[in-house]
Amino acid sequence: MEEKNTVNTQHQAAIDELEKNQVILTPGQLVMRRFFRNKLAVIGVCILVFMILFCFIGPLFYPYSETELFYINEETGEQIRMYETEKLKTAILYTRAPMSAEHWLGTDDMGYDVLARLMYGGQISLMVGFVVVIVEMLIGVTLGGVAGYYGGKIDMIIMRLVEIFVSIPFIPLMLIISSLLISMKISPSVKIYYTMFIMGVIYWAGVARMIRGNILSLREMEYMQAAEAAGIRTSRKIFRHLVPNVMPLIIVMATMDLGGVILMESTMSYLGIGVSAPFASWGNMVSAVTNDAIMRNFLNIWVPPGLCILLTVLAFNFVGDGLRDAFDPRMKR
């Protein structure tokens, strides 16, 4: 019997040696691994990286600005830029120019360069997305977390508030606010920030609802009870146990919402209540299709921004989906 026991301890030692050398993966590393194994998600990341480079680095290498108008001498066909003042006298606006070496994507109905506006418009669209999501997450996570963690009366009040916010008809409200802002003579560049802020304030309700549900279920997890039984401080319970475990949900929701917000911003700009001229956004660029002639003959004006919206929103959704699967592999299939 003695001898056999040593055989066993030898086995155990061998197993120990093997296990010791095993690579330790933190949950975060595991998530990254699973994420990068997902092809669609990686494609999404590539698209997003490309879009960000295109919108924020691209303008540095492109000679034209977003608000620069282009002119042409009708007789000679010579193209004239805005600062060549003496030549401007005989020139007319160079609108609906075809794609050429000077204007890669041509110019639009007003005489702006489409590619330049695509870049600056992208900046605005992405910025709106990020700012709105940050605002809505800040409000939503705080209120949702408070409601879920403390429960009782506070929960009741916050949840009723959420219900009120989700029943506000968004587009009519934005129409009213937009005309209000116009009547107050607020300049278009400031108006963008108002719009972002209002969207964030309205969108928090959905986030709060999800976070509250998640916190409620986490609070019932036995490790939270064990922390309570061990007399862990409330602040530590929240920041060391709750927050890291809600984080996946927050990240996934934020990514998915980014796509949604960009889409919403486009819709609003299309309707003329979001970003307005002279500033570009993908949404108000697409709105050129309302002109029948442009829709038929000048695809170079409205297809690129449309494609950009589609690709970006799609990419955010791919990444969001990929993140969700990576955080919770059981959700798959």
Partner: protein, 338 residues
């Protein structure tokens, strides 16, 4: 009247080495209904339970699902607030403490849960899971912290290099070891073990049970061992209490209870356990029906609806829970007839 009697009994019996004294513990959950959530009744999950555990002993609490045994465990630790009664640990009533005092007293009473998967935070390495509360309560000086954790891990048969790993790398049995280590690291006087082996495979169960017994011997820990598995309870406990619908129906030292069960429910419970011997055909007491809903328990003796020896008095009057000699407590009218 009845409640006062039991209180006196327990206090009489209380010796110096009693670690936990539970006196007339009650936990009611309100049943709410309607738009305004008016309270229309109560689920009496625990309805006046008293027992005490001596240092270094194991009190086994058995009963079927819904009998309130888990609620007792959680209420004693004040993970849920009690409705009434007292739980005295080291001379102090846990239910009377303020939040602050309670937090200070937490290390003295710990809990092990049934499900080893949901009881470990997936985003914390093992070392921190075990050591979190040690740091919180300054149980050891900072300098000795790591050695202390390693020592606790060693006691719980965990390898030292597990310290930086995350729960997802461990099997159910190892996770339960981590849970025990977490409880043990605080040097508790009493550990409430709420079905600690029910979710594990048979061969792993044995490992956990052996470990719990070894630790008890080494550190004089007191266990409140809650389980529905009678054979495990018989193996590990010194005193066993049988619960039915929120009440203790019988309580006695282990050998006495298993050799000489008095309450008809205890008898049925014991005979219901399958015997792993194909040649023994047991004369089984098979109970009819199911446990009644605790929201609407039967009048009189709560067991009378299923009792094979039900008498008229059982339907009218609840039997008294008292000592019939040799610390053998029973709540049954049959006892008075003998």
């Amino acid at each position: 009247m009845k409640a006062n009697d039991t209180v006196l009994d327990v206090i009489d019996l209380r010796a110096k080495d009693t670690v936990l004294d539970v006196i007339d513990l009650k936990k009611y959950y309100p049943i709410k209904s309607g738009v305004v959530q008016r309270v229309v009744g109560h689920v009496k999950a625990v309805d006046g339970v008293s027992f005490s555990i001596k240092r270094g002993q194991t009190f086994g609490l058995v009963g079927e699902s819904g009998c309130g045994k888990t609620t007792i465990g959680r209420t004693i630790l004040r993970l849920t607030e009690p409705t009434g009664g007292k739980a005295i640990i080291k001379g102090r009533d846990v239910f009377a403490l303020s939040k602050r005092e309670l937090r200070k007293m937490r290390p003295e009473m710990q809990i092990i849960f049934q499900d080893p998967y949901s009881s470990l935070d997936p985003r914390m390495p093992v070392g921190e899971i075990i050591g979190e509360a040690v740091k919180e309560h300054n149980i050891v000086p900072r300098a000795e912290y790591r050695d202390y954790i390693l020592k606790v891990m060693h006691d719980c048969e965990l390898r030292p290099y597990y310290i930086d790993r995350y729960p997802h790398e461990f099997s159910g049995g190892q996770r339960q070891c981590i849970c025990i280590a977490r409880a043990l690291a605080l040097n508790p006087d009493i550990i409430v073990a709420d079905e600690p082996v029910s979710a594990l495979d048979v061969s792993i169960q044995a490992q956990i049970i052996n470990m719990m017994r070894d630790l008890q011997e080494k550190r004089q820990i007191t266990y409140l061992f809650i389980s529905h598995d009678l054979s495990v309870v018989e193996y590990i406990s010194d005193v066993v209490g049988v619960m039915y619908l929120g009440n203790l129906v019988e309580k006695a030292p282990k050998t006495e209870l298993f050799k000489n069960p008095q309450h008809p429910y205890t008898r049925a419970l014991l005979s219901a356990v399958p015997v792993p011997n194909p040649d023994v055909k047991m004369n089984r007491v098979i109970l009819q029906g199911d446990i009644p809903s605790p929201a609407n328990p039967p009048k009189g003796c709560k067991f009378h609806t299923r009792c094979p020896h039900c008498m008229d008095i059982c339907r009218e009057q609840a039997p008294e829970y008292k000592d019939y000699g040799g610390e053998h407590f029973v709540a049954c009218h049959l006892m008075d007839q003998k």
